[in-house]
Symmetry: C3
Subunit: 374 residues, 3 copies
């Protein structure tokens, strides 16, 4: 089989799935809508008979479609059947992407505004959560989401958060990364009493000017369990005066997690994770947040990432990488200049967090860079 | 329940425990003395009846004191009793902080000085060590301490270390981060013979000028076991010409550990860890050192950290964060500008290293920023 | 026992093993040849009787050779015998270094050149692999090596890689860190069909200008297993215009791994790891690459490292450390100015990855800095 990038190549290779074609096929008009069609089916072996034919010619009777395979001395038929079966599982997982599941976490929440105060009502309650098709886990959610709804405000905003505790344990919310007055810090028995089951509690503060960036909110009560079950979310503070480098076309928050819900990105495991979509030439900002117990070195294929912020603070000078190690509690913001069209794998490089014998799972998604219409 | 930081708030919230009040209550005059009183009791639920009353009004009969609680339809009494019992355990842990235990590690050691040489006598020996109240572990200690006594010298100093091995195994000391002559490097069979049980061995060297910073000393013989049991300590080298950024009010060394002794900060697990105390407006330097086997991303509440040094070497430009990932063998120095009064939680953000169903434990302490007297 | 670096010291201490003497003893003329003699034997306890005598004088009858030992009240003879037995195991491991094993990975591969294209033929196949003397593991190798052969090209080079799959599973090669056209990215069912058992597949691309540095190639098919078994290698891209800082005397690639093959450096565990050898005053570049599942904070004794590149991208300003945390998928390039003569331990500082009760093993090697001939 021959596939040289500058030579004639089968269409499945030169035309990666794009958001346009993906949306057309799926009949979708916005990414937030349920994503039921695969963005990745066009490069399956079955879709490329002519490719397989070329491969057969090059490799002495081999092909990749599974149908016209000639026996190879070194690969008895039983072995080959086993390999094909494994491939079929891997392909099925990829074809299913982005798989439909019930529930979507990390949705931007619109506050009520009263007398200039942005008000967010958050209810913590148990719920079943579907991390990948058919895999339901016990979750503790804010407003039925894992991660909880995204709170997004500006420096200097006055914010009120009404927490209702419908859990069976006491709870509290810590605003991780925000430099708040002590009584708003959310640590039971240190900064406040615990919020008992059935009780409500109100946090209210002015977001400090100078404290912009990618922050988080999560339970600080019996936290290993409560955060592990899903009581966490993004708390993003927009700066009053954005830097030139943070003027981007796509602003994406990716919350990493592990533990009781498996390996997840924004509460879902592959193939139920969400693709990130940009057009060729656009800039994407990714806000990595780790709410788990393990490091996750996230690796982007095809393009590098320029690291601009750590925990909401500008790095003194941006620096580049393709694999960024993100530890629990950390946030790292990166910029990707989408100059390479394709459907780029984007995954944790601790490989057992991303792929098994049955195919890719867990901490895998893609960054789709769409080519312009011809 | 309502607690708005800019509005009327109960006194337990607006007046965090301060070192001053803590010391007054405890009758202590120095932090190095046994710390027997809790710095954190003033914000327990029991201490805030008026708060509980307000909460009751706001939340339909709920309060936080456990006494006058009205039943909530969603929380049967059995469930509520269970939640209360959990809270009681969490509160008890916090009230106990800083808990008294026998033994204190990482104490600054005063050398004998002979003919201009600073002489440190270190004896390695087995000993029981109390990591938290009532939890005694088998330890191997230098001079009866875990971590061993802090050695603190200046660039260019002549230093002699007399090691006496009262262990049942051979040992040796490696000066981690110091760029010494080969024969002083402390690796048995490579740079020296092992120091047999009952034997003595002397290291002597001039601390290189240009090698200032936060270094360590520890066994390099059967090291996974010997360091794991406690044969480790801080070796701090002061520069001849300190930079402006390192002129601080409080200089604190925090040695992280895991493994056989549990999750510890300076040899103790919460609530037996030690609070760091500063006054509003002061600068604190924290020298993180990881002598364990795992990463520990340390998260400070309420204020950010400015990272200045890695392994004793100045970072080209300081950078900011609130969660700093520290890997085994690494040292990171940070500065905290204490501009936010309160008793700030400071813990490893791998949550199972810091909190369990029974409350906070392990790698948890606080940074107390005291308000000036009125 | 006294050993002061500026005073009279036994010859075994002042004359660390050098590459010269090591090669002389071993009759070797190049490092790539099998290294059968120990570089570390000269500092064993047995080699230093006069040292032992001094120790005996200082420590009341103790010595380090085991022969003339007087009983110590605190160390009954049984205990001492046990300690001696442990020392003997530790010494034996060090004496065996660098131990001869079959097979050497990471060997520089010379391409065929046709019409200006550098052609690399890689065959993936199962094979037994000896990680340390007598320890044979199941491996999947490129061209019989773990890591696979080093590919080393220049920016702008045209490269063709012919992959033959002699495995029992489908496979594919991802060029980790290279920003290639989408169809060359090596992800089955996304960028190409899987390469079936018995089949061949050809990758061909121009190495992007501006994409120099330390990259990798590895399987991206059932990758947790396939990379874990050894399907990985270095892909180094030399810049057209090297920076001054990267003009070095020794350019060394160190691939870290863990998992199925144990803890390894370039496919071998101590004492079968390879020493890095330089002359006093030379500069060594080390290209760390992590192909495992765990972090490995690599610690160099005796000298610091200056970090210049991350994932092939220049850090904005070089920075110094002695312990560098390397996460899976990451590459970090450092420079060592070899200004301190000796045979310096160089190991992962997660101590259980480097030493056990039976001695050093796994992720341990040395950097030898040779003194000039007198």
């Amino acid at each position: 089989m021959t596939s040289k990038s500058d030579l004639t190549t089968p269409s499945f290779i030169t035309e990666p799935a794009t958001r346009r074609s993906f949306l057309r096929r799926a009949g979708l008009t916005a990414l937030a809508a349920p994503a039921v069609a695969s963005v990745l089916t066009s490069c399956s072996a079955e879709a490329a008979p002519q490719q397989a034919g070329k491969a057969g010619a090059a490799a002495g009777g081999m092909d990749h479609s599974g149908g016209t395979m000639a026996a190879h001395p070194a690969t008895p038929e039983g072995m080959r059947a086993k390999a094909d079966a494994m491939d079929a599982m891997h392909e099925a997982g990829i074809k299913a992407f982005p798989a439909k599941t019930e529930g979507k976490g990390n949705q931007l929440m619109t506050p009520r505004v009263e007398k200039g105060v942005k008000i967010y009502d958050l209810t913590a309650a148990p719920q079943k959560w579907e991390t990948e098709p058919g895999k339901w886990v016990d979750a503790w959610c804010y407003n039925g989401q894992v991660p909880g709804p995204m709170i997004r405000v500006k420096e200097g905003d006055r914010v009120r958060i009404n927490l209702t505790n419908n859990l069976t344990e006491s709870t509290a919310i810590h605003f991780h990364g925000l430099e708040l007055p002590f009584d708003q810090d959310g640590v039971p028995f240190i900064t406040q009493p615990p919020v008992k089951p059935g009780a409500q509690y109100t946090y209210e503060f002015t977001v400090p000017v100078g404290n912009a960036g990618s922050h988080m909110y999560h339970s600080h009560s019996n936290s290993a369990k409560q955060v592990g079950l899903g009581l966490l979310g993004a708390f993003i503070v927009e700066p009053r005066k954005p830097r030139a480098i943070e003027r981007v076309d796509v602003d994406y928050t990716m919350i990493l997690n592990d533990g009781m819900h498996g390996y997840t990105l924004n509460g879902k495991g592959f193939p139920a994770t969400e693709p990130i979509v940009a057009k060729l030439g656009q800039k994407v900002r990714i806000r990595f947040m780790n709410e788990g117990m393990m490091i996750h070195p996230m690796h982007l294929h095809g393009m590098h990432m320029t690291v601009i912020d750590k925990d909401g603070w500008a790095q003194p000078m941006p620096w580049k990488c393709d694999t960024l190690n993100i530890a629990p509690g950390e946030r790292w913001d990166v910029i990707v200049n989408c100059n390479n069209p394709g459907t780029w794998a984007f995954h944790c490089h601790i490989l057992p967090h991303a792929e098994g014998e049955h195919g890719m799972f867990g901490m895998v998604t893609v960054l789709i860079v769409e080519k312009p219409a011809v």
